[in-house]
Subunit: 389 residues, 2 copies
């Protein structure tokens, strides 16, 4: 699966099979990553970044540092930036099950010589984290100054802090909770159903480049609607007619939101593997921080890292109340947990769009081991959410 | 299209073509309805009920008056009930474009002798209302003591009050707004895309009983998620494993919400025509009360009926704030508009589930020409919503 990219993507190949959370093992594993900055002699300046569902290891692009769209956290990473590469060795890891240079359902099954497709095992957030841990160990890195991620990347950051408590100093979670609810599972199920309805899906055994593009497009339309807020969509699209070319319809001219969703859907279908979409959304559904421990409390009790929990004010997929509730649970356990809220119309996606706020929140948290301002405001959360802006 | 039912469904056939809002005409129109109670000699006791998207004319079932599931507003209709059939002649009309006894895309096109399918014209809420008006005129009824409906049925009730102001005394709107926003349009578009992706759809030219059931099932899954609240789904489904038979999955055991959504999807696919689903969701998208008038204000200014606007506290498809805003606009125009909020975890669907509250709200509003209690609380809405319970 390695794909040639302009950027400095690296492929870490595992020396042995990766045991899996739900049983079995993955025989041959490659995990893609990119790095920025220099590893300190003591190897104690590592920041691990973890991307969202359809993201990849390309968190920053030094060739286009001023283009926010060149990489998913581009404005936050670089010399003097929030994730300061003069100070930190920043590494962004892809996930197993993915399709951006890492072993996933499109990879060749060494047993058959053909793509795994649906023979790929069900993978979990725990497996993603274990693979990242093994990769870092292979690079001689044991300790993380910080781990940070949004959405399913934030779930991975949480799992890092629970699974390897001695090795994580700080965890930054954006729009992430300890588990998702039935509404979010339902939307994931709809996306998967659309992919599997597409006749081009062929029970997952499609040829590269001939996959279920329309099904994946519909899955992405569902995703985009859930990542944004109703309020933001009113502001951006209203009830205007389509401003982008949209597919023909027997039902008359389309609305702008329809053209936009189709555009986003086509865009994902060009760059993402449909089977990976099935597996990664399932990993999101399955994640529960309590899994493998006696209780949720027993899992959270393990954490030694200080944690930052950022809720997005208009996020209805990972509601800010639920993000705050996790911080409160940790606080009640005596942990150093800070909640802050990013006020935005951008819904769940705010952590990929609100650059000045994100710079400030990350920068302050990483610069000051105890962020007095936030801690004072939110260590004992008030009935109304503390605002970040 | 007439289907034999145990209940007293009646089919009104129009003596002439029905001119359509977006141009053209529908040559041969049949509109289904059911009635309960007796028409007064003065024909002044008529209450018109209008159903939601996939509903039908079967609002009440006198054979099973105590079974809430026997008809969609069954607990509200009958002798001594909120819509009191000892007092009112209650009539529930189906909609053109539908598939429950009324002319729609599955009906025979008189020009070809085959089903219209996608040759059916795009229809609008305005057309639905015009057809209802012509049917009532044919029955010798001109004036409505009340018109009531939820969701797209509420849009029709609003359109009745705007289009025929002299003939509507009261309009009761449940979870209905003057237009829907891009988020709701986007979800409708996803449902339509899934139907059209289903290979059984065949560009709309499927045989009866061999339609795009899986596509329609997915569309219904989207609908059900939007009609319910996240909070209600946590309470009912949580993250429990599927309690209903769900389709097999290569991704492991399903969650309860998945089994439930599939069950609801299959259930709709058995009773509803997929092409009708395309046309009716489009009518919902297209509706804008301002259409055909100089401005929204000019449209609302026409209303002479007193209006009741009921928002559902956890409705995110037709948010209570927007339902309230419509009442406020009417109030600002000097109209007799009352807003009340139904506190419920059932989201948009609350008007089909919260029977004691619905009985009280409808009963009080119809019994008392000026509902002092509600009017006092809500004629000048306070910053926090007035609660109905």
């Amino acid at each position: 699966m390695p794909q040639p990219l302009l950027s400095a993507i690296q492929y870490h190949t595992f020396p042995r099979p990766l045991p899996l959370w739900r049983g079995g093992a993955l025989a041959s594993v490659t995990l893609a990553n990119e790095t920025w900055g220099a590893l300190s002699p003591n190897r104690d300046n590592v920041v691990l970044l973890l991307h969202a569902l359809t993201g990849d290891s390309h968190a920053a692009d030094p060739h286009e540092p001023d283009n926010p769209k060149a990489a998913w956290w581009n404005p936050l990473i670089g010399p003097g930036r929030a994730f300061d590469t003069d100070r930190y060795f920043v590494i962004c890891s892809n996930v197993i099950g993915g399709c951006q240079g890492t072993t996933g359902p499109a990879s060749t099954d060494p047993e058959t010589g053909k793509p795994y497709a649906l023979n790929f095992p069900v993978i979990t957030v725990q497996d993603m984290v274990r693979a990242q841990r093994e990769m870092l160990t292979g690079l001689g890195i044991r300790r993380l100054a910080a781990v940070a991620g949004g959405s399913i990347g934030g779930m991975q950051a949480l799992e890092w802090a629970v699974r390897y408590p001695a090795d994580v100093d700080a965890a930054l979670l954006f729009g992430a909770t300890e588990r998702i609810g039935p509404q979010a599972i339902g939307f994931n199920a709809i996306g998967r159903s659309a992919i599997m309805l597409d006749p081009a899906w062929c029970d997952g055994r499609y040829e590269p480049g001939h996959g279920p593009d329309t099904g994946l497009q519909i899955a992405r339309m569902v995703g985009m609607l859930t990542y944004q807020s109703s309020q933001g969509q009113w502001l951006r699209f209203g009830r205007e007619p389509a401003s982008r070319p949209a597919s023909a319809s027997p039902l008359g001219e389309k609305f702008d939101i329809e053209g936009y969703l189709e555009y986003q859907g086509r865009s994902l279908a060009r760059r993402f593997d449909a089977n990976s979409y099935l597996y990664l959304t399932r990993a999101m559904d399955l994640y529960d921080v309590a899994d493998g421990w006696e209780s949720e409390g027993a899992a959270l009790e393990r954490i030694r890292a200080r944690t930052l929990h950022v809720g997005m004010s208009t996020d209805w997929l990972y509601p800010p109340e639920q993000v705050r509730a996790l911080a409160q649970k940790l606080d009640a356990l005596g942990k150093d947990a800070v909640y802050t809220e990013l006020t935005s119309v951008h819904g769940h996606d705010a952590f990929l769009k609100e650059w000045p706020d994100m710079e400030r929140i990350v920068g302050e948290y990483l610069d000051t081991p105890r962020v007095t301002l936030h801690a004072k405001e939110t260590r004992r959360p008030a009935p109304t959410p503390a605002q970040a802006t």
